[in-house]
């Protein structure tokens, strides 16, 4: 009995394995041609660096390599976590992205609702053309424009008759960052909501109008349900990425004097690692950031899933 019981699954496994081999043989192109380039790039540029995380636990010396460098355990993590700067950089990162999310997230949705109300397609297309335009301006040019507009001799100061140097004020940094972000991104981000709204059932909307529903009621009954899923997905994605706020823009808006507000973890990792050459410390800070980000993503996904009838990402 015992032997029978164990041989049957084995046979099945053999057969399954055999089938798989047969499949791979028949469809070798799918593996060797279609998947291989992506797999190689991923292994070399994503997985190989993951092994490099080890240097966060060493006093890494580039000349000795990972195997020859001294292991120091959690030294770099304690050094970072206990440094007085740590709370500041963490707070800067979180404030910048949380405020950015709170102010920036509703704007595209509002724009989409408004665009959806415009009945002339000609006018709508023209407005969209303008709204999407800033998305094609590069970070450097955007920050260049910001610096010009806000400079001491710039138009804003000329207009107000003042000589305020906004770029050197830590308290102005976040507003500059967030407002310019909305200026650049809100129109573009509204595309997917606009597209979902135009897919919303026209009949349903007409029925609502017939029933004498006012705009707010129409939004509640027809338009909001049409974009709700999209809103949830976008929110999870953005909220989950709170710690991975980009380097490029923060760095391009930094000045020596606004650093107390503008130094975020990403720019700190760069400064420590590639400017000061403190590889191990920089890697430890980066790893800390990544781990928090993963935790946040999982947490946000769980919370949203709970609020959204078990539907997360």
């Amino acid at each position: 009995m015992n032997t029978n019981a164990t041989t049957v699954p084995n046979q099945r496994q053999d057969k399954g394995f055999h089938n798989t081999m047969l499949y791979v043989k028949q469809h070798w192109q799918l593996y060797a041609i279609f998947l291989m380039p992506a797999l190689l790039l991923t292994l070399i540029f994503k997985y190989a660096p993951m092994s490099g995380i080890l240097i966060a636990f060493q006093d890494y010396n580039p000349f000795r390599g990972v195997s020859g460098s001294e292991w120091v355990g959690l030294k770099h993590f304690t050094r970072f976590l206990s440094s007085p700067d740590f709370m500041g950089y963490l707070a800067n990162t979180l404030k910048l992205s949380v405020y950015g999310l709170l102010w920036g997230f509703p704007m595209p949705i509002l724009l989409a609702f408004l665009l959806n109300r415009i009945q002339s397609t000609g006018i709508k297309k023209k407005i969209q053309l303008v709204l999407y335009l800033p998305n094609f301006v590069s970070v450097i040019v955007l920050c260049g424009i910001v610096r010009i507009l806000l400079s001491v001799t710039g138009p804003l100061n000329l207009l107000m008759g003042t000589e305020i140097n906004f770029m050197t004020m830590p308290e102005a940094f976040r507003s500059i960052y967030i407002i310019s972000g909305i200026w650049q991104g809100a129109g573009w981000a509204s595309i997917m909501y606009t597209a979902s709204l135009s897919n919303a059932s026209q009949e349903l909307k007409e029925a609502a109008v017939m029933d004498g529903a006012n705009i707010l009621q129409q939004i509640k009954a027809v338009e909001w349900p049409a974009i709700k899923d999209m809103v949830v997905i976008q929110f999870i994605l953005q909220a989950g990425n709170i710690m991975s706020i980009g380097f490029e823009k923060a760095y391009a808006l930094q000045t020596d004097l606004n650093l107390p507000a503008s130094e975020i973890i990403a720019t700190y990792v760069y400064r420590k690692g590639l400017i000061d050459g403190d590889y191990s410390f920089s890697t430890a800070v980066g790893l800390f950031n990544t781990v928090i980000n993963v935790i946040l993503l999982v947490a946000v996904n769980k919370i949203v899933a709970k609020m959204n009838d078990g539907q997360g990402l």
Binding site: L30, L131, S138
Partner: protein, 295 residues
């Protein structure tokens, strides 16, 4: 379509809404017009009075100085090369990888999906990636800015979702004709996927054209720097290319000219994408929706 009639309360709501929308549009246009007008002005007037619409005094000095600078053109040339190569490599790799993963019968689908998905959330970070690229001898090579980001998992899921929307009959017809995977993919599948290909290509091109971080850390040789790095020194670091202002006598004149050059630089560098963009507009909706569907 029913002509909508609005009640009094709705009218107020709509008016407020349209005013907001109008303000947003104005807020986008005004800085752009400011930069355009300022780029033609005399630097001294600009600094003292701000912009004026006195067209008789317009000059194209700033443009001449920027255009006659070789570093700008080197930047342009590099940006074009990197952006085109990156777009081609990235789109090809992404479209290829998405195909097996879009097929329900593909063995190992779950495994490969997980391998790829992990990289969306977890990575080695700046220094370990830098060390790998540098160990591969790619520092000061254009491949350092092209290869590491070429395969985008996010774009792959968009292409995958798009493939799944293609009718199965196409595949079955190809099977009957005895077409192999490659023939089917290139001759039958790709031709019906142009909207998603156009959008992915546009994203990758714009992304590479506008980025500067990878170039900043990997390309030190000024002959290899793309446009955005040249712009960075002019716009952010206030260091115009030396040939642009060195003939001016006083420091004040140099500073004013450097300021003026910024405007012209912004216009010249932004033109190519802004001209291209309306031609792609028709693909935006279809392409973005393709990616928005939950994979």
């Amino acid at each position: 379509m029913v002509k909508t009639r609005y009640s009094g309360q709705d009218k107020i709501l709509l008016t407020i809404g349209y005013i907001l929308l109008g303000l947003f549009v104005v807020a986008i246009i005004v800085p752009m017009i400011y930069i355009i007008v300022a780029s033609f002005m005399d630097p001294i007037t600009l600094q003292n009075k701000g912009i004026t619409f006195d067209f008789s005094k317009w000059t194209t000095t700033a443009y001449e100085r920027v255009m006659s600078n070789s570093q700008i053109w080197i930047g342009f040339k590099n940006a074009v090369i990197y952006s085109i190569l990156f777009t081609v490599v990235s789109v090809v790799v992404t479209l290829l990888a998405a195909y097996p993963l879009s097929r329900a019968d593909f063995k190992g689908r779950g495994f490969f999906n997980i391998i790829f998905m992990i990289t969306m959330f977890f990575g080695g970070g700046l220094i370990p990636t830098y060390l790998i690229v540098s160990n591969l001898g790619l520092v000061d090579s254009m491949w350092a800015v092209i290869l590491p980001g070429a395969f985008s998992v996010w774009n792959m899921t968009i292409a995958r979702t798009y493939y799944r929307g293609i009718p199965k009959e196409l595949r079955e017809a190809a099977d009957v004709d005895g077409a192999n995977e490659l023939t089917f993919f290139f001759k039958i599948l790709l031709p019906v996927c142009t909207p998603v290909i156009a959008v992915l290509a546009l994203w990758q091109f714009v992304g590479m054209w506008n980025s500067y971080f990878d170039a900043m850390i990997y390309l030190n040789d000024s002959a290899k720097q793309p446009l955005q790095l040249v712009l960075r020194s002019i716009l952010i670091q206030n260091q115009p290319e030396s040939g642009m202002i060195s003939d001016m006598q006083s420091t004040a004149a140099r500073a004013q000219l450097a300021e003026l050059l910024k405007y012209a630089t912004i216009i010249i560098s932004s033109l190519p994408l802004l001209i291209m963009y309306p031609f792609f507009q028709k693909y935006f909706d279809s392409g973005i929706m393709a990616g928005a569907v939950k994979g």
